[in-house]
């Protein structure tokens, strides 16, 4: 079991299931295709856990260093001897950790969807898309080279597109899926250019060469510069742009809240736990390059992360759609992870930020997937997404209430739940790097606690709303994943991440820095207390506060008008001054040339069609006169 050849099946099985359900799904009974997809993912999960067990505890940790293991790496496209694209499987601490995250959350979502999506039209289509997603995400994390990563990166993009637009008869869903696809596609353009620049400079796509701190790639990377930054820095900024798009960081965050039009389990899987952290994973994967060759780019990573986390947290306080609150909270938490990477050093205890980022990625995947699945259970019970339709659900949905509370405590960073540990590491890393970033994140921690408990109090406490039918607890297929994820959200903080997932593979000691942890817990408690006062003790208070800060409230409610800015730029500037002239040129010049050719041909052929009279002797006459003419010409020319 230590040669890891079986890891191939981790991403082949979902692919085969995708093909099977995609081609033959409509012939199977909906329930059978759902069970098939779930069973296949169960196998994948087991394989992932086996891989993780053997990787972390049996094979790789020789001399206390986790090696990178390339299970296989075969040539996929061969252009020249120096340019070839490979496909393979690379196991290292972060990819193995991602396998665990993806397979666990995926499996939970697969099981949950059996209940949540029951009776939906296109049930088997849904499961085939989920399998496609699992396949592409697995392929992304185990990629051996940056090009393979890019290919799977686009594949997760397309699965996200397909799943957001699952209810394709709903215009909002179609709009949201298009928006998600176009915005991320735009960012991926930067990624592609970044890849090309980087690999042109370093002559390699291969991660094991690129990210080797002593390797040639990093040593050769400095050199030519452009606008004061080295080309490597530029290419890493461009690569990061792809991560910004996928991870919905400012200013490409606009697609994620709209992506909530998709089915809720999909939001849990793709838009909270796995796909959106691909950007973080990308930076983590390229971390040595960032750290050694492009520190300026790393600084940008940190600031964009910090800004996004603050920005999204403020918006989350004003949103009224339960899934949108969670979406903004996702952006905010991913901002944390980006920041942690941005402030990290390399190797040993310096790599605290790196470790914290991965740690937070892990715990966040668990509690955020849990939050979304709870939200799904709530929506399932009250048939509405809006918080105004919810209230007093504590007594109707006791289990959902309990798991939701655990998730809220975890995300707010209350010990001993998982979020506390990972957030504390991030804050500690930020504290040692840059005090401004540190205080931003302190504030965000408080805001996070506030908006999560605003959600919690309005949904589960407060008065009953007018329900058409009495809300009832979801079926066991939906509650079991909640319980499992709640367990993970509660206890995954005790996993010794600093022993397992570090920047250079070497374990190091961490301890909770109480000087940072206690204030952060206090801030979180303050946030919770504020939410309690505002939404339980004194429900008229929020209205009064809103009327005082009318303008800033309106600003945040409308998401700082970023969407409107995009619309203004695209519609009023790009469409009017670029697209329309181009369209005019296309319609009149390009099409005009073609039409003129066609018209000339038509006129000429109408004129000469008289020649084809059907009269045999006329044809013969032309033929013979032609021959004679030709003969005469030849005779004239030859003499």
């Amino acid at each position: 079991m230590t040669d890891f050849n079986y890891t191939l099946w981790i991403f082949l099985i979902p692919f085969l299931v995708f093909i099977l359900l995609g081609l033959a799904g409509h012939r199977l009974k909906a329930r059978i295709s759902g069970l098939l997809g779930t069973a296949a993912l169960g196998v994948v999960t087991v394989l992932s856990y086996i891989t993780a067990y053997f990787y972390y505890f049996r094979t790789a940790g020789i001399n206390d260093v986790f090696r990178k293991i390339t299970v296989f790496d075969s040539t996929w496209l061969h252009f020249t001897d120096t340019l070839e694209i490979k496909m393979g499987i690379l196991l290292d601490p972060i990819s193995v950790m991602m396998l665990i995250v993806i397979s666990t959350v995926s499996l939970m979502v697969h099981i949950y969807s059996l209940g949540y999506m029951k009776g939906e039209k296109g049930f088997e289509r849904y499961y085939s898309f989920l399998s496609l997603f699992a396949f592409s995400m697995m392929g992304l994390v185990v990629a051996t080279n940056i090009f393979q990563m890019y290919i799977f990166w686009e594949l997760v993009g397309i699965s996200s597109y397909l799943l957001i637009g699952f209810y394709y008869q709903k215009p909002e869903a179609v709009r949201a899926s298009k928006k998600a696809f176009i915005v991320t596609r735009f960012a991926d353009l930067g990624f592609l250019i970044g890849i090309l620049l980087l690999s042109f400079n370093t002559r390699t796509f291969d991660f094991s060469v690129l990210t080797d701190p002593q390797g040639t790639a990093i040593a050769h990377s400095s050199g030519i510069s452009f606008l004061g930054l080295s080309v490597t820095t530029w290419s890493m900024i461009l690569v990061y742009l792809g991560g910004v798009g996928k991870s919905a960081m400012f200013p490409f965050h606009i697609w994620l809240p709209d992506a909530m039009e998709g089915p809720t389990p999909v939001s849990a899987l793709i838009h909270a736990a796995t796909m959106v952290v691909a950007g973080v994973y990308l930076v983590a994967r390229m971390f040595p390059v960032y750290f050694f060759a492009a520190p300026a780019a790393l600084e940008i990573v940190a600031w964009i992360g910090a800004f996004s986390s603050l920005f999204a947290a403020i918006i989350a306080c004003t949103q009224t759609d339960i899934k949108r609150v969670l979406a903004y909270s996702t952006i905010s938490q991913i901002g944390y992870m980006m920041l942690a990477l941005g402030v990290s050093g390399y190797g040993g205890h310096d790599g605290l930020g790196f470790m914290a980022s991965m740690f937070h990625l892990f715990t966040h995947a668990m509690f955020k997937a849990l939050l979304f699945l709870c939200a799904g259970a709530i929506i399932h019970a009250v048939h509405s997404n809006f918080m105004i339709d919810m209230g007093g659900l504590r007594k109707y949905l006791p289990l959902t209430h309990l798991t939701f509370l655990i998730a809220c405590l975890a995300i707010s960073g209350i010990p001993p739940f998982s979020g506390f540990f990972s957030k504390d590491e991030i804050l500690a890393a930020a504290f040692h790097h840059n005090k401004v970033l540190f205080f931003i994140e302190y504030a965000v921690a408080g805001i996070t606690a506030f908006y999560m408990f605003r959600l919690y109090f309005t949904v589960f406490r407060g008065e009953d709303r007018h329900y058409h039918t009495v809300p009832h607890e979801a079926p066991p297929t939906m509650t079991i994943p909640l319980i499992i994820l709640a367990t993970a959200a509660a206890f995954s903080g005790f996993i010794p991440f600093s022993k397992l997932v570090t920047s250079d593979g070497k374990a190091f000691q961490t301890h909770i820095e109480w000087g940072i942890a206690i204030p952060s817990v206090l801030i979180a408690t303050t946030g919770i207390g504020t939410a309690y006062v505002m939404y339980v003790r004194n429900p008229s208070l929020p209205g009064r506060i809103i009327s005082i800060f009318k303008h800033s409230y309106k600003l945040a409610l409308n998401k700082f008008y970023i969407d409107e800015m995009y619309l203004f730029i695209t519609k009023k500037i790009i469409f009017r001054y670029i697209s329309e002239p181009v369209a005019w040129f296309d319609r009149h010049i390009v099409d005009g040339t073609m039409n003129a050719l066609a018209i000339v041909t038509q006129v000429v052929s109408f004129r000469i069609r008289e020649f084809q009279s059907g009269q045999l002797q006329k044809y013969a006459f032309f033929f013979i006169s032609g021959t004679i003419l030709l003969a005469l010409t030849l005779i004239y020319l030859l003499h």
């Binding site: 069609r609 045999l616 002797q617």
Partner: protein
């Protein structure tokens, strides 16, 4: 043995026959007559082959063979043409070539 007749006589005869055939082919309206004109053309070519072979390359036989082939092919062609003409007559009840003009734009 044929010293009295120069080559050019044969060639002139052939040319006259050829253009008579062409003229007939282009001006006659009756399909049978057109077929006969075609035969005339073929035969003028035969004369050319034979005469040129005899005068220019007396020790070779290609010209003779060619004309033999042409006679054979002409016979087959006449049979096919007659069959076509009969079918045309059945279809249009005429063998006037001007009335057989449906193959046009």
């Amino acid at each position: 043995m044929n010293a009295g007749i120069p080559l050019s006589y044969f060639l002139i005869l052939a040319a006259v026959m050829f253009f008579t055939g062409i003229y007939g082919f282009l001006t006659r309206r009756n399909l049978i007559t057109i077929l006969m004109s075609v035969e005339l053309i073929l035969n003028s070519v035969n004369i050319n082959f034979l005469a040129l072979n005899r005068y220019l390359f007396p020790h070779k036989l290609e010209g003779f063979f060619f004309s033999l082939f042409i006679i054979t092919v002409a016979a087959a062609e006449a049979a096919v043409a007659i069959a076509l003409i009969i079918n045309i007559y059945r279809r249009f009840t005429t063998i006037n070539v001007e009335d057989v003009n449906i193959m046009k734009y």
